[in-house]
Symmetry: C2
Subunit: 350 residues, 2 copies
């Protein structure tokens, strides 16, 4: 079997952290081609091209400063050139660029290439919510997998122990990707319910906004634990509505992509932080994004709205009081003080 060629599409903070792992494994394992392409959006940093800096100094000084990248990771500024001949395409770019990027590489990739999305977030589909992997699959017609987990990029780059989850419907592809991704301190579990793995990554942000409300309103540990748990139950219930391609097992939610990522997002994470500030200051989400995130968009509130749209069509809003409360508080002027009382008659307690 020919060695598989890997291309990392993206070179931000998370893409560069992943490049450390992928580069090291590709160098070590004969089943992968040693050279790993990394598509880098070209920009000038201190008067030098970023690709030149990466290829000469082996460091992404802009997005992952202080970490050496393996020298077999080659920065390529031309997108089409970077993906040509690749057997494994790792997508790790901001979700708003996905469609345009797919349009650019379409027709230039191997038809039997396998994609793995590390992209957080969801797209707006005709029914209110669409998985990013689904967007890529439709655009490119390739087999898609995902990798998600409690993985803050800087901690992964520092080699601190953590876990992650690969979702792959094919066991064989899952095993190959595990070989590519797993290191001593980056431990991989492969599950078949890829759509569940991906939806967890989107839904957890809604719960984190709620956990932030809870912090901002001065509730204690009990209430926050209840919010996180009820959020998890709504994530499971929503996955059962949304992921119709197979069964949705509660055990997938016990993986890193589920409960572990949910915990870190509800204790750290910017959705929690903005949720807290929202409850404390009375400012709008938009104002807080400007003040606290330099205008970057938060994912939890829009995801709550997209989920709300789906649930409305299906006449199931009442079964998801937490998701619904986050939507109504962020966008329909409901008082944030009502957040917890929305949970008092949760279907879980009936």
């Amino acid at each position: 079997m020919a060695a598989k060629k890997v291309c990392i599409i993206g070179s931000g903070n998370w893409g560069s952290a992943i490049a450390k792992i992928v580069g090291a494994n590709a160098e070590k394992l004969s089943k992968f081609d040693t050279t790993v392409n990394m598509w880098v959006f070209e920009e000038m940093v201190n008067g030098r091209k970023l690709t030149e800096i990466i290829n000469n100094d082996h460091e992404n000084v802009k997005y992952l400063p202080g970490h050496k990248l393996p020298p077999n990771v080659v920065a390529v500024p031309d997108l089409v050139q970077s993906v040509t001949g690749a057997d494994i395409l790792i997508f790790v770019i901001p979700h708003q660029f996905v469609k345009r990027l797919c349009d650019t590489i379409k027709g230039h990739i191997k038809p039997d290439a396998v994609g793995m999305s590390l992209i957080k977030g969801v797209d707006e589909g005709p029914e209110g919510l669409k998985l990013i992997s689904e967007v890529i699959r439709e655009k490119l017609g390739i087999t898609m997998t995902v990798l998600m987990g409690a993985n803050l990029a800087n901690e992964v780059a520092e080699g601190k122990f953590c876990e992650t989850t690969i979702g792959s419907k094919s066991k064989e592809i899952g095993a190959t990707l595990k070989d590519l991704m797993q290191t001593t301190n980056f431990r991989v579990t492969v599950v078949e319910e890829a759509d569940v793995v991906e939806i967890c990554g989107a839904l957890k942000n809604i719960v984190a906004v709620g956990a932030g409300f809870c912090d901002g309103l001065g509730y204690g540990d009990n209430t926050k634990a209840a919010v996180i748990r009820l959020g998890l139950m709504e994530m499971i219930a929503f996955a059962r509505v949304f992921c119709t391609s197979g069964t949705v097992s509660p055990t997938t939610f016990l993986e890193s992509c589920g409960v572990a990522d949910l915990i870190t997002t509800c204790y750290g994470g910017r959705n929690r932080k903005i949720g807290e500030a929202f409850a404390k200051t009375g400012k709008t989400i938009e104002e807080l994004e400007k003040e606290m995130l330099n205008g970057q968009k938060l994912q939890g509130p829009p995801t709550a709205s997209e989920v709300h749209n789906i649930l409305k069509v299906k006449n199931m809003v009442d079964k998801f009081p937490l998701f619904n409360a986050v939507h109504q508080i962020c966008f329909e002027g409901h008082p944030v003080k009502e957040f917890v009382s929305c949970l008092q008659n949760h279907p879980e307690h009936m």
Copy 2:
């Protein structure tokens, strides 16, 4: 049907918080006798008997100051008198007093009384670990249930929203107990796997010690999330070894007694705190208990040892690297720095 008479055996911080709830519900619901006895270990507080203070001022000034107890909760200093005629016995005393207490009330309780244990901790059995509800059941021969969850007593007393889990093999008894315990802000789920509910409350403390090590060693959010998740997986695996009376479903671990209580214990809680201090200072658990807990005993480390004994007999130690590492680090002189490396070859990742 005659109104059921309730006795709360114990009047500490948690017992008094529960008395607020039980008293209010017994007053409101005709299926319960309005008067709720609460056995109070008599002591003098500012020159007055504690039972007299409670019965006159309706406040447990020693263990739950600042909260009024419902006037239908009657403090009774005589243990046998307090339980006489009770249909529902709520056990909420420190676990080291359970056996002696049972010996005292044996022969004085209704044979068809139902017990509900709110007691945290486990007893040492011949096989290394024994549930407190099992100890009571053996001593008294009554039907036992449990109530466990992410329930810090003071927050419950303040009426802050939270959830709890009742474990009852009988659905009918479970429904009655839910009526007795549930309020607008104290939400109850009933599950049949009572032994799983109870073992969660013991095992979480081992995981929290590990989470504390992790904090003390300076690992970040990813690693802590991985420790919590791997701890949860070992809790499930251990329950499957230990709870042989029925099936062990992963969904029980998604209840308040499982994931929610685990989260609060691993972020707050004294097992975490001592674990952190242990890793930072190099002092022994015993020294830290003296310094930080006024000599009170921590539950995580001894539970780790009891679990270790069981696993050794069953030749299954290797399948529980986290539980085992906590035991070895606390009691066998293994360096705490090795804690995380013990997790690198976890069966979950194989």
